[in-house]
Subunit: 244 residues, 2 copies
């Protein structure tokens, strides 16, 4: 059976990959991915064949990987973060029906909710929701509904794809919705370029977050009603009694 | 400054750790943890000093780690999965105020939502909520409210701590709540002993899941309205058009 791995490489640094992800890429003949992610790993797997496609060419990229695997080469499709969180594993499994001679295996990785959370402190220690603000494939009304539901249920919230050039005001709109159910002083944080050069974190109140400019390399965290700032870190307590 | 690392070791297998987690443990003098997790890593870090405390002794375990670090030993507190998702990083950062001579650093890991998701397929490809059914430190009413909100917003849902001996019927109760807003045929899955000997996965409908017996080593996934079964895998599509 021809093997095709879908590998989450984590936030970007080599040592943020799992050992299994590293071994999987070492054992591959071909590594397929979005140009930016391939550039992140290339130097560590110098002997491999690399194939890239630009953004928005996800279906073509996946088919390219199936064709490589189908020709007998051990192939890996890489995704940043985890392959299963806004990554390629879903599309790969959907397409796998068309390529019965290729066996797909998913290798998980550290998604930005976790790697960014570790930089900020411990924002997701209790129940939380992960919501993407990209409306490329999801109606904005659905995103609004999810933001409000998560805020009303006092979940901590992690936002992926908070904005882009075309969607410059989406984070502002999202904050307005969450402010219907979360207090303006709710502790929030952003992390950009997680694990890469220029990594940057900042804490804000939800009222302040409204006017923060982010980009597609930023992950945003909104606390629950218990979240607090401790020594410059964002901490959502789980509820342990620490004073005897 | 004395260093204290809070390290997520992933689901359990050595190769599911990140390279950074492995290097951090290799550089430590002392590794502190819950007995079960220490047993998972012990053989790979044979030269280290190991200190364990049983379940429910979380505050004592964290203080033990701070005392070790404060005495000048490089110390790591290990957690299964990610340190920041129902792990110890929040409590450690709360306690850090009492130990100003110790610097805490969080090393993220692959939490069960991701590692279990990869075993099942791609259940969390789109917006999702992570909710623990443990009511040890959270009122059951809060948990119910969150389950209903997540179901009404058509989020995929990942449940941690679905049951224990004392809470044998909690998953059933949770399913009843989610059935108020999700269809009985919603595709669901469970994974137990992720990445360990005896790993097991199974797909169910939400109606069937109600009567499934789980334990504390099981993670439960409930799909959104688009989630489907493909070749025995649970897949939540992100929305790509795959037919030209």
């Amino acid at each position: 059976m021809n093997k095709l791995y879908v590998v989450g490489i984590g936030p970007g640094a080599y040592e943020d990959m799992t050992l299994k992800a590293i071994k999987t890429l070492e054992n591959c003949d071909v590594i397929v991915g979005y140009t930016v992610y391939v550039d992140l790993v290339k130097e560590h797997f110098a002997q491999k064949e690399f194939l890239t496609t630009p953004m928005r060419k996800e279906v073509e990229r996946c088919r390219l990987a199936f064709e490589q695997a189908g020709s007998g080469k051990i192939t890996a499709m890489i995704c940043s973060g985890d392959a299963g969180v806004y990554g390629m594993s879903g599309l790969m499994l959907e397409l796998s029906e068309e390529y019965p001679d290729v066996e797909v295996e998913i290798v998980p990785g550290v998604t930005a909710a976790l790697s960014g959370g570790a930089v900020l402190g411990a924002p997701l220690m209790h129940d939380f929701a992960v919501i993407s603000l990209s409306d490329l494939m999801t109606p904005w009304e659905t995103i609004e509904k999810r933001l409000l539901a998560a805020a009303e249920a006092d979940l901590a919230i992690c936002l992926y794809n908070p904005s882009s050039r075309k969607r410059a005001d989406y984070l502002k709109k999202a904050c307005d919705i969450m402010l219907k159910a979360k207090k303006p002083e709710t502790v929030c944080g952003i992390v950009s370029q997680i694990g890469r050069e220029g990594e940057h974190m900042e804490l804000y109140s939800l009222a302040e977050l409204k006017d923060v400019q982010t980009d597609m390399f930023t992950t945003v965290f909104i606390g629950n009603s218990s979240t607090k700032e401790i020594n410059g870190k964002m901490v959502t307590p789980r509820g342990y009694e620490i004073r005897g």
